[in-house]
Amino acid sequence: MKTGTDRVKRGMAEMQKGGVIMDVVNAEQAKIAEEAGAVAVMALERVPSDIRAAGGVARMADPRIVEEVMNAVSIPVMAKARIGHIVEARVLEALGADYIDESEVLTPADEEFHLNKKEFTVPFVCGCRDLGEAARRIGEGASMLRTKGEPGTGNIVEAVRHMRKVNAQVRKVVSMNEDELMTEAKLLGAPYEVLLEIKRNGGLPVVNFAAGGVATPADAALMMQLGADGVFVGSGIFKSENPAKFARAIVEATTHFQDYSLIAELSKGLGTPMKGIEISSLAPEARMQDRGW
């Protein structure tokens, strides 16, 4: 009997496919998310848009919040650790979090190295903007990927860019000859072994969700059409006027992402979504997606 194997860690993310993972900051929100049909919740101290507004250093959530959320719901509970913060990740593992997001939404603890995720029993999800970044994270032991997008903006444009980029680069690798892969690995900054696995597998060896800027049911469906395996929604739900209704609508749009009359129906009267931010208005140091290496 073996725990913490690749199959067990990657398999956990496979079970989340076609689903929506929602950011929550307390037990009450977690229950609303579960009731709406979320496949998991991300327990946080603040949602990304509030982290943006508050400024300063953003850290792992108070363990009390993580515990409160774990006690409130039966679905899996994820939590975020700072990039490279070994102890925050170990603390979340000790608390019994089901998945850890080594996340650029928090202020990085290490500006050079990510966690060696292979050493942990708990699985990790990491953000990526292109295949080089995706393959490096897989090489470090990430069991699940997500686009970085631009968190807390309610603007889908960066998530779209990242999903298209990764998928185009995956298609290229799959169509290449094996003798061309080493040079491609050099150009992408990707581990050769991971590219070989992608080539032989015909695709990424882990699931890739959309994240960072999903604000409406149509945004969620768009990301599914672009090839996302599922969707993370951060600030979008609990910053909207009617979170329960909004959450249900996002779940349904993710399941039936090609049923346009259904998406039209469930987009009606949702109230005002979160106010978005135009990416070009962000100062370079406010761009979360540029964190990570």
């Binding site: 725990t3 194997t5 067990v8 956990m12 496979e14 076609g18 689903g19 089901d98 779940v251 039936h256």
Partner: protein
Amino acid sequence: MIKIGVLALQGAVREHMQSLEACGVEAIAIKHKEELQEVDGLILPGGESTTMRRLIDKYDFMDALKGLAAEGKPMFGTCAGLILLAKHLIGYNEPHIGVMDVTVERNSFGRQVDSFEADLAITGVADDFPAVFIRAPHIVDAGENVEVLCKHNGRIVAARDGQFLGCSFHPELTDDHRITAYFVEMVKEAKQKQLV
């Protein structure tokens, strides 16, 4: 040609479809209840049972699923799928589809850090099946007509109740198609009976 559906509301749908195709039958992803009329049997995949249940209710699937069971068509539930099939759930007053005579407890092996894999002997299937358990449920109690196919550390993790097959683990996460092949045989036998 045998046609087997995979309930495609959420979860590991593609893997089950690939496994069915590897067993030489046609696999159909079921997103609408009308599509259930075409199939000879149904797989309920791994995923989140609370999410699947909400979508089952939302799209009015429940009667169609119970109808499929009433017609005698075989159904196979893996992990969340087993939870959907069970007649009794620990801690819940009502079951979901509630057709397989077993009592199931959710998340009974612990949280994700306790998820594991082990090679198991499954009666009529294999002596060394690679079983992947992820936040898995287990069968606490089985009715008298239920055949227990596999136990792990004293807990029932696979069983058959006539037309219903259920397991705690995820055969869809491996390349081992032997348990899917076992279910395909169940579907073929049931179809044969209906033709006679």
